[in-house]
């Protein structure tokens, strides 16, 4: 399995687990235990010999069925696909019996072959035989005459033609059929095992069901899924080895997942800019830790939620603004306008991120899960605000300011006063520097009819507004000193942050906006980290 498939598996597994968790939270019933509970039970079951004897019984049944079906169907499919005469006599028989549901023969099989392995194996064989047969025949029928003619012109015998042309032509569709029947055969296996017998994973599931042991049902389901995936992947691996030519045409460099692409995604959402926001989230946790217990698990899921929400919001913003970005020389190098990421890729990334956010929220608490949807609405809604209001900077501030509030709901189940004040500090801090950023785009925004404070009030007034917001920000941070049991080190830190704000505003002058990028970025990241540091110092260095 290559890196790309592995990553695909990891992502889909994560998605499944999250969806499962969300469903478990929503249902909150013993019928659907959460993934972590099930995994614990699974880990316990794996240590028992009973589990393995059931697993082995099912594996043996399904593998012998597929093997037997292939041994019968593949040669027959080759024959009727290649030889028109055989086709004429055998095909009508096949297409007459193909639509009959073979599952209904289970009672007959049991009566004829007993309750043991044989009846189950024959039933699965009967079901999958036809699918392999039809696929193999189609593969051979699709073989172009010119291959056969060119081989004949070299003096090839029928045996040569079947060996060198007919069998290779049938292989890809045969493997496709094998992968499809993997699922079918396991379904039939489950059916057969629940119906008769006292071994196998199907029996295990039914037994757990009878005893109302819901977690064990999921252990069985998990084991059956693993069996299915293992067989499926084995066929995929065999196909890759035996049908190399089918990949030759599409194995172009640049396709699939690569480090560069991951870097592209990270750049698209300015992953590095997480340093501006994440420290505020962690600062909220420090504040909350003064009168709540915070587990490592909580911290983990809160970070996942923050990164997920931020990535979703950024991705969505890049998609919505792709047209605008491409016309603005400052942003035309962004990934979607430049074409390094397609809109489709950006969409899948955004949706996945949103899903991660919702899932992480579900892991935190049902209330967080419910609230995650309005939060997403605010985050996505922000991207449209600059089209109709110059207060868009404030909306951005509020969107990001939701982060400490979210952490508070996760830990305390409600919004505490201190986190509300921290949220105000964060909102005004973000809104203030977003106004500074917007100063760079003033002409472009006016031309495009986009609303912003600089484009509406001019640069000097915008700088004043930004300063005012940052005054509120520093004042809110200072207020926390009296709201929480803070040590004197905190006041020292607040003075330092205030000084950094002043430096930032000194860097930017109405006549010179060129320094907005580098110095600005550096000072801002220091401020954010300082907020976190000051909370730690204030709370723990009493």
């Amino acid at each position: 399995m290559n890196k790309q498939r592995l990553l695909g598996y990891a992502l889909s597994l994560a998605t499944c687990l999250l969806a499962w968790k969300v469903a478990a939270v929503l249902l909150s019933s013993p019928v659907l235990p959460g993934p972590e509970e099930t995994l614990r039970a699974f880990a316990a079951a794996v240590g028992t010999s009973e589990f393995w004897s059931n697993f082995a019984a099912s594996t043996f049944r399904v593998l012998s069925s597929i093997g037997l079906a292939w041994l019968l169907a593949f040669p027959l499919g080759i024959m009727i696909g290649y030889d028109r005469k055989t086709d004429r006599y055998v095909s009508p028989l096949i297409f007459l019996t193909y639509p009959i549901p073979k599952m209904v023969f289970l009672p007959v099989m049991i009566l004829l072959f007993g309750l043991g392995d044989l009846s189950k194996i024959l039933l699965i064989t009967l079901v999958v035989f036809f699918q392999i047969l039809v696929a193999t025949k189609e593969g051979v029928s699709g073989l172009d005459r010119k291959y056969i003619d060119s081989m004949r012109s070299m003096g090839a015998t029928e045996g040569d033609i079947i060996r060198e042309a007919v069998i290779p032509a049938a292989l890809p569709s045969c493997f496709t059929a094998l992968r499809i029947i993997t699922g079918t055969s396991i379904s039939v296996l489950y059916f057969a095992e629940t119906f008769a017998g006292t071994s196998g994973l199907g029996y295990m599931i039914t037994n757990a069901w009878t005893w109302g042991n819901y977690t064990d049902i999921y252990v069985g389901i998990l084991a059956m899924s693993i069996l299915g995936i293992a067989i499926y992947e084995t066929f995929t691996w065999m196909e890759r080895r035996m049908c190399r030519w089918t990949r030759a045409a599409e194995d172009e460099p640049g396709g699939g997942w690569s480090w560069d692409k991951a870097v592209n995604y990270a750049q698209m959402i300015k992953l590095s800019h997480t340093v501006f926001a994440l420290p505020f989230g962690l600062a909220a946790l420090v504040i909350l830790s003064t009168d709540h217990t915070i587990t490592v698990e909580m911290v983990l899921w809160i970070i996942v939620a923050i990164v997920g929400a931020r990535s979703a919001a950024m991705g969505f913003n890049r998609i919505v603004d792709a047209g605008i970005d491409s016309r603005n020389p400052r942003t035309s190098g962004r990934h979607i306008p430049r074409g390094t990421l397609s809109v489709k890729q950006a969409w899948s990334f955004t949706l996945l991120s949103a899903f991660v956010f919702v899932g992480a929220a579900a892991m935190l608490s049902p209330l967080c899960f419910v609230l995650s949807f309005p939060v997403l609405a605010v985050l996505f809604g922000y991207s449209y605000t600059k089209r109709f209001t110059s207060a868009s900077h404030l909306v951005l501030g509020i969107s990001i300011g939701l982060m400490p509030l979210g952490a508070s709901v996760a830990v305390a189940g409600t919004i505490t006063e201190a986190t509300a004040v921290l949220s105000l500090a964060l909102s005004t801090y973000i809104a203030g520097f977003d106004i500074l950023y917007a100063c760079q785009d003033i002409e472009f925004d006016r031309r495009e009819g986009l609303r912003s404070i600089p484009s509406r009030l001019g640069v000097p007034a915008a700088l004043a507004a930004s300063s005012a917001l940052h005054v509120i920000s520093i004042a809110s941070l200072a207020a926390l000193y009296w709201m929480l049991p803070m040590g004197p080190a905190y006041i020292l830190c607040i003075f330092l942050i205030g000084a950094l704000f002043i430096v930032e505003h000194l860097l930017v002058r109405p006549s010179d906006l060129t320094r907005i990028n580098v110095a600005f970025f550096n000072v801002n990241s220091i401020i954010s980290v300082m907020v976190f540091v000051s909370m730690v110092m204030g709370v723990y260095l009493l």
Binding site: Y147, D149, S150, M151, R152, S153, M154, G155, W245, A248
Partner: protein, 248 residues
């Protein structure tokens, strides 16, 4: 007059009684000479070529190679089909060796001949590539190589260059002239391009009618040189062939 390499005598082909595709065709090609066959599509050119290759038996008449009647595919005859007939599941090396494997050529002999032909046609480095990874020109060179590696004395080709762009096509036509010169091959090429027919053929046979028969055989004494494409005689023969094709 040189020695007759390939002779068709009164060739007739019916696919079913009443459906006669080819009627009473007789012609011959001398050793080392090249015949091109041109005619409207669907007139039976490919059917004729299949009979020459021994892949299809004539209903009446016979095909002779070096005086012996053709009754099936023979070692003497190499064939290149329209769209190449290369096996997509075999690499360049596998495709080149296919004919030798069928004919049970010893393994080390196979290796030596395959290496030689790959070098000769400039396909080095492509040994492990699958045809789908190659350009149209490379695929066509591979198809030529696969026929040549069997060392045939007659090479039959069915619209070999029809799917190539002009430049690649002309380069490969040149390659073909060279190969023919060096190996003394006798060639029969079916084509629908008048320019190709005139560039490659010492004689151009114009087919037409239903059932199909020979409408004209245009002599082309100037052919055989690379510079022939800009020769005044080339254009004169093209005009003559065009008149014969349009007169059908």
């Amino acid at each position: 007059m040189g020695e007759r390499m390939l002779t068709a005598e009164g060739l007739t082909k019916e696919f079913a009684p009443e459906i006669r595709v080819i009627e009473d065709m007789s012609f011959s090609v001398e050793r080392g000479r090249s015949l091109t066959i041109i005619g409207p599509s669907g007139c039976g050119k490919s059917t004729l070529l299949y009979m020459l290759a021994g892949l299809s038996r004539p209903t009446a008449g016979k095909v002779l190679i070096e005086g012996r009647e053709v009754k099936g595919p023979s070692r003497e005859v190499g064939m290149i089909l329209q769209d190449f007939g290369l096996l997509p599941w075999k690499t360049v090396w596998g495709n080149i060796c296919l004919g030798m494997r069928i004919r049970n050529v010893p393994k080390d002999e196979q290796d030596r001949r395959a290496r030689d032909i790959i070098r000769y046609l400039g396909l080095e480095g492509h040994e492990d590539d699958y045809p789908s990874r190659m350009s149209g020109g490379e695929r066509q060179r591979l198809a030529i190589g696969r026929a040549l590696v069997m060392d045939p004395s007659v090479l039959l080709m069915d619209e070999p260059f029809s799917s190539l762009d002009t430049l690649t096509r002309e380069r490969l036509q040149n390659t073909l002239l060279e190969v023919r010169e060096q190996k003394g091959l006798t060639m029969v090429t079916v084509t629908h391009s008048i320019e190709e027919a005139v560039f490659l053929g010492d004689e151009i046979m114009v087919l037409g009618g239903r059932p199909c028969g020979i409408r004209a055989i245009v002599p082309n004494p100037g052919a055989g040189g690379m510079g022939y494409r800009s020769d005044e005689r080339f254009f004169a023969v093209c005009r003559e062939v065009r008149r014969a094709v349009e007169g059908l």
